[in-house]
Symmetry: C2
Subunit: 167 residues, 2 copies
């Protein structure tokens, strides 16, 4: 596993454990890479509740409760869809925090206005939800996925620090 991703996963585990918070993920384009990174850390079962990899729209709907109208109206790669995914992940798993991803890892899947490397991320820290648009340089599917996963964990750490200091 990428060394930087592993280090971030360790930091996420340590920080959430310190705060007594649990985590889940709802992943489309990252395909389980965020969950795999977080659970590669010994003792992660104290922090990690579970994940849904929602590749098809049917699974986004059936497992995470994303309304099909929201997908039809906004497209699967959108702020509205990752927001619904992240909320669905928290509801399904009962976790305190969650992250969601939907994007175009390539090489296929690009559309007008959404090139390969377009990734929407949502972060939910105890009900405080933020969405973030990544526009990554296309470095090939595997690197795009890994870079997305690293950005997700960094965003989670930032949000946890902001929300938990503010409270």
């Amino acid at each position: 596993m990428d060394a930087e991703l592993k280090a971030l996963a360790r930091e996420v585990n340590a920080r959430l454990r310190e705060l007594g918070l649990t985590l889940s993920t709802a992943e489309s384009c990252t395909g389980g890479t965020v969950a795999a990174a977080v659970t590669s850390v010994p003792g992660s079962s104290a922090v990690f509740k579970g994940a849904v990899v929602a590749y098809s729209n049917d699974v986004k709907h059936a497992a995470l409760g994303v309304p099909l109208e929201v997908i039809e109206k906004n497209g699967a790669v959108s702020s509205a869809v990752v927001e619904a995914m992240v909320t669905g992940a928290r509801l399904l798993t009962g976790s305190d925090c969650a992250v969601a991803t939907s994007g175009i890892a390539g090489p296929g899947g690009a559309t007008a206005g959404k090139p390969v490397g377009t990734v929407w991320v949502a972060v939910d820290v105890c009900g405080s939800v933020s969405t973030h648009l990544l526009q990554l340089k296309d470095e090939g599917r595997e690197i795009n996925i890994c870079t997305s996963a690293k950005k997700v964990l960094s965003l989670l750490l930032n949000r946890v620090n902001k929300v938990c200091i503010r409270q």
Copy 2:
């Protein structure tokens, strides 16, 4: 990503696509590594429907419909639980095939009779379910997870070839 895991993921994608079959995963100890491997292959969205990483027993129940009594009676690391997980994954995602894992990746979690490296795997190919007990040599959490994921994909390929030739 481990080169052998990547090669197996490519083979699984190619074989399932050739047969027109779809796949989902229900992962406990592998933590999303099987899903991440399968979806690292370009074009995997034609084959892969989704995954549930069910780390907590609550998620095994809420997302995959594993009865809590089955977990209490048999323990989470058991043939009965992976069988219920694999069926749950197919039902949730509507996939033709599914794989499920529950085991002890270490370093913690070992119990009497279930040392680190004990992993139950279930494979469901179009309703034909088999369960398999792996007893891996403990080579550390990350290698244990990677080895488990490779065994899962090999078992899936074997079962697909057997079931699909037989039919």
